[in-house]
């Protein structure tokens, strides 16, 4: 009886010391979880998640202050990826924050633009080229489709155009391929 108790106690002590040592020696510095979450978020900085940008939303998720399903541009895949990273059950995208739209870019109608530069100031990734009293246009490659330029334009000259797949950019789905 005494033997059993003492053996287990000694083992518990040894393992406890080992774990404690490992916790200190192999501690990961900083808080990379926020960085990892931020790397998954689509960086549109659109604010549909009710936070002022992707990084604040990432920090909120890391602190447990926000759910993982508040980001429409990331789509359901983004929610699943976050669930995977955090090791939690995945959720359905919360439609109240907006619906996932297919990839779009902004295009300025050049005949209507008045060169007010409000859109340049609004764009979170500086995807506009232009200046005061000079016609402004979008750099399509840089545009993330966040929609933030739409409400600020006083003459409503910005349209969101959907990017359609071409022969070069076509990505088949698993269903299409396997049941072909």
């Amino acid at each position: 009886m005494i033997n059993a108790i003492s053996t287990l106690s000694v083992l518990a002590l040894l393992f406890g010391l080992g774990l404690g040592y490992a916790a200190i020696r192999f501690k990961v510095k900083g808080n990379p979880l926020v960085d990892q979450i931020d790397a998954i978020l689509p960086q549109t900085q659109c604010g549909q998640c009710d936070f002022p940008g992707c990084r604040p939303y990432a920090e909120a998720i890391a602190n447990g202050e926000a759910e993982i399903n508040q980001c429409p541009p990331g789509g359901q895949e983004g929610v699943d990826a976050l669930a995977d990273l955090l090791g939690v059950e995945t959720l359905l995208l919360d439609e109240e924050h907006g619906e996932t739209k297919p990839k779009r870019v902004a295009v300025v109608d050049e005949k209507v633009c008045i060169g007010c530069t409000l859109c340049i100031q609004a764009c979170p990734v500086d995807a506009f080229v232009g200046s005061s009293k000079v016609m402004t246009q979008v750099i399509a490659d840089e545009c993330t489709g966040c929609d933030l330029c739409l409400p600020v334009c006083p003459v409503d000259c910005i349209d969101m155009i959907e990017i359609k797949p071409t022969i070069k950019t076509y990505v088949p789905t698993l269903k299409e391929l396997v049941h072909a």
């Binding site: 992707c54 990734v125 990505v171 698993l174 396997v178």
Partner: protein, 505 residues
């Protein structure tokens, strides 16, 4: 001595055997539909307009990129349409095409200017450009621009001409070699001259005895070796061929040109010969028409852009709806209907009777797929990872090295379409990598913008501070001035009062 038997691969019987595979020249089609998006490179931009009259061999579309080849008119006539037409592609998407109605005359552009027989006097750069401007791309299926390949392999020691045609059922390369053996040999001689390589090997499978005999008859160049290899599927895959012929393994992710080898399909060599010596651009190719719904398989020499329906009018086709496959049974794609046109890499069209589709069962981990993979991958593992969309693990197991040959799908006892799973994973990987790059770029721009705004704010604040200090200094200076003046005035006044007092006394 490298082993000409490679691990994996399959011995597959020709599903459409025939005794006669002669290359048949068919009359000019009434119209051609030429696709602008070639397999490699950006979409070509048409440089002709509707209603314009064009000559055979005239360039009708160009690409800005020097590494890519332009598109030529394959018949003379009038451009009747420039619009979207469905492509012979897995996606079934439409793309830009130029349609030309034939005027029946087949008037050629001027083919007198060029390197001609005296190509040895031309600079290599001139010849590369000639090949480019003639629209020559790889005709074995990949469609890589030939001039770029040759440029990348400049200074290579070995040239391999891929005349194996290992995909079962296709015989257009064999027909071409039987019809134009001299062009093949002389084309190889052109290659030897431009690249300065030591020797060239024409690799051919042992089931093409007639082609072997014809080539041997016309080849008297010591630097050209005609090597016969055993007939086995995937013997013609570039990396496998290089390993069996030269014993060299092309490192994963690299190309033949990186190890000093130039490997070209035999049809490409003939087209290149036509371009360099006869100044004729690529406007036609040999196509195999076969299938269980076609009585006799035939090889036709057709103009690019001819419609499938036009070609099928030259064979004995059964009535009814059929299964249409392009580019072979193993690596080909299924198409719906026949409303397509021949492009530079259409090597065959198979029309088969519709069969009951087989339902795939569960994978029983038998490992048959592992035994037949010519690249020695583990298709079974790749399948399980692809199924669960675990792209990371699939990449660990060398997903991108898969050549999509279809050997694994062929032997699977559960009839699982394995290659489709790998195509899906590769496409998903490409999409994920692109998205990651875009997200990174967007984050960088956003962070820079934040920094820029911060910097502006800070600079403005500093400016205000500096102005404030300057103003203070100015005020202090003014004050000091004023005090000095006041003091001086006081002194002056004091002196004046003193003087007054003196005068009074």
């Amino acid at each position: 001595m490298p082993n000409i038997n490679f691990k994996g691969g399959l011995k597959i019987e020709n599903p459409y055997p025939s005794n006669e595979i002669d290359l048949i020249r068919i009359p000019l089609p009434d119209k051609v539909v030429l696709p602008m998006q070639q397999r490699i490179g950006n979409q070509a931009i048409p440089c002709v307009s509707i209603g314009e009259h064009v000559l055979t061999g005239q360039i009708i579309a160009t690409i800005d990129d020097d590494r890519c080849a332009p598109v030529h008119a394959s018949i003379s006539g009038t451009v009747s349409a420039i619009g979207n037409h469905v492509y012979a592609h897995q996606s079934g998407l439409k793309g830009l095409c130029v349609t030309i109605e034939s005027d029946g005359k087949d008037e050629w552009v001027d083919t007198s200017i060029g390197c001609t027989e005296n190509y040895k006097a031309c600079l290599p750069l001139t010849i590369y450009d000639k090949i480019r401007i003639s629209g020559i791309v790889g005709m074995g299926g990949a469609g890589f621009p030939t001039h770029t390949k040759m440029r990348l392999a400049a200074g290579c020691k070995n040239i391999i001409i891929n005349a194996t045609e290992c995909e079962p059922g296709i015989t257009c390369d064999a027909a071409l070699m039987e019809a134009y053996p001299t062009k093949v040999i002389r084309g190889v001689e052109v290659l030897l001259h431009i690249t300065g390589a030591e020797k060239a090997i024409i690799a051919i499978e042992d089931d093409k005895q007639k082609s072997i005999d014809e080539l041997n008859k016309y080849c008297n160049n010591e630097r050209i070796e005609i090597k016969v290899i055993p007939t086995k599927y995937t013997s013609g895959a570039e990396k496998i061929l290089i390993k069996t012929l030269l014993g060299i393994e092309v490192p994963s992710g690299k190309f033949a040109s990186d190890v000093g080898i130039l490997c070209l399909n035999v049809a490409t060599v003939v087209a290149m010969f036509d371009a360099v010596v006869e100044n004729r651009p690529l406007i036609s190719r040999a196509v195999t028409l076969a299938g269980s719904a076609i009585k006799e398989p035939k090889n036709l020499q057709v103009r690019l852009g001819a419609t499938y329906d036009y070609l099928l009018s030259f064979v004995d086709l059964e009535e009814g709806s059929h299964k249409v496959t392009m580019a072979g049974l193993m690596m080909g794609i299924n198409l719906k209907g026949t409303d397509y046109s021949v492009s530079k890499n259409t090597n065959c069209i198979f029309i088969d009777k519709v069969q009951e589709s087989v339902v795939a069962q569960e994978c029983i981990r038998c490992g048959m797929c592992n035994t037949v993979c010519p690249v020695e991958l583990l298709p079974q593992q790749l399948y399980w990872f692809s199924k669960s969309e675990n792209i990371e693990k699939a990449m660990d197991y060398n997903l991108l090295d898969c050549i999509e040959c279809g050997c694994c799908s062929y032997v699977c006892p559960s009839n699982i379409p394995l290659v489709n799973y790998y195509q899906f994973s590769k496409a998903l990987y490409k999409k994920q990598t692109q998205e990651k790059t875009q997200i990174e770029k967007a984050r960088e721009r956003f962070e820079f913008r934040e920094m820029r705004l911060e910097r502006n704010k800070r600079e403005r604040a500093e400016l205000m501070e500096a102005k404030k200090i300057a103003l203070k200094e100015k005020m202090a200076k003014d004050k000091a001035q004023k005090e000095k003046i006041a003091a001086a005035l006081e002194r002056v006044n004091a002196v004046k009062i003193d003087n007054k007092e003196e005068d009074a006394s």
